[in-house]
Symmetry: C2
Subunit: 186 residues, 2 copies
């Protein structure tokens, strides 16, 4: 397989990647955090195809193209808006965010097919249901979790319903001054 599939998610200390309302803003840095910004810049340097489920896609598509997003986080907004994207949905008829390919097939089948083709690496952001399906199919080459030191109390967990208890290989545990810890697994 020539293309790698990765995942990046922020997770709360109690394991949620969104709160009960689907909101991911718990992960926002507290105040100015140059170390975090530099990490995001590196992470968002582009070159990857971003992969979404419908829910995460619609949330991000309604945010990143706005002037506010461009002003608040110009570099990340540029990467998000200019990167090629894939959204998996059986209900969407169109997907208007620039550079989006809408796929309605089975995510694991489609991604397995794409991994065999030439092309840039792919990165899943958010998208818990898609992430669980791709994890279940063993398609991830790397998983990155930024553990935010916040307790949400409820929310959506990653990998919901995955069976077989897959065991991952730790690559790195990187603590940030903010108290975030970035865990990467292979």
């Amino acid at each position: 397989m020539s293309r790698r599939l990765g995942m990046f998610n922020n997770v709360s200390l109690d394991g949620y990647f969104t709160d009960a309302e689907g909101d991911m803003s718990f992960a926002k840095p507290q105040g100015h955090d140059e170390e975090h910004l530099e990490f995001i810049r590196q992470n968002a340097r582009g070159g990857s195809v971003l992969v979404f489920g419908r829910v995460t896609y619609e949330m991000m598509a309604s945010f990143w193209p706005t002037d506010m997003a461009k002003q608040m986080m110009p570099e990340v907004a540029k990467t998000m808006n200019e990167s090629p994207k894939i959204v998996f949905s059986r209900t969407l008829k169109t997907a208007d965010w620039a550079g989006t390919t809408l796929l309605s097939g089975d995510p694991a089948t489609e991604i397995a097919r794409l991994k065999k083709e030439d092309g840039p690496d792919m990165t899943v952001l958010g998208s818990g249901r898609i992430a669980a399906q791709l994890a279940q199919a063993g398609l991830f080459d790397e998983i990155g979790l930024m553990v935010i030191p916040v307790v949400l109390g409820q929310g959506r967990t990653l990998f919901e319903g995955v069976t077989g208890r897959p065991r991952l290989k730790l690559k790195e545990a990187r603590p940030f001054r903010s108290g975030n810890v970035y865990l990467t697994y292979q």
Copy 2:
């Protein structure tokens, strides 16, 4: 306050401290792991009062006093069996595991009272509901989570129902050769 309250839990990569059946064996080391054993020995050196909810208490009380537990993990079994213990329950009439005090009052009220008295530190093991109540009341001085690189897919999350999004202070992120990462927060 003169006594400190801590927590120790193993959690899966997707944030569960037990699987859907209440089983914690996902956290068992794979094969012989001297580094992990040494950590557990240090951790279990005793001196702390162990604090439980009924469910975790009954599970542990049925395991640690057995000959099998004493043979498999002699040092930990000794500490677990000899440490003073508190179990919170409104339904238990007796608690027979050596050294157990049975308390039926509100856990946060009782622990707040105990923290003001002289005595050894206290450590919550497992006991998700109790942990959530004590976290909600802001009673923890230190929280230790051993992140096991296994995806459970479902289970019980820590801190369930905690509100107000408490933010913790990272103390240390310690990776183990096994792929476990021990995160401690204050």
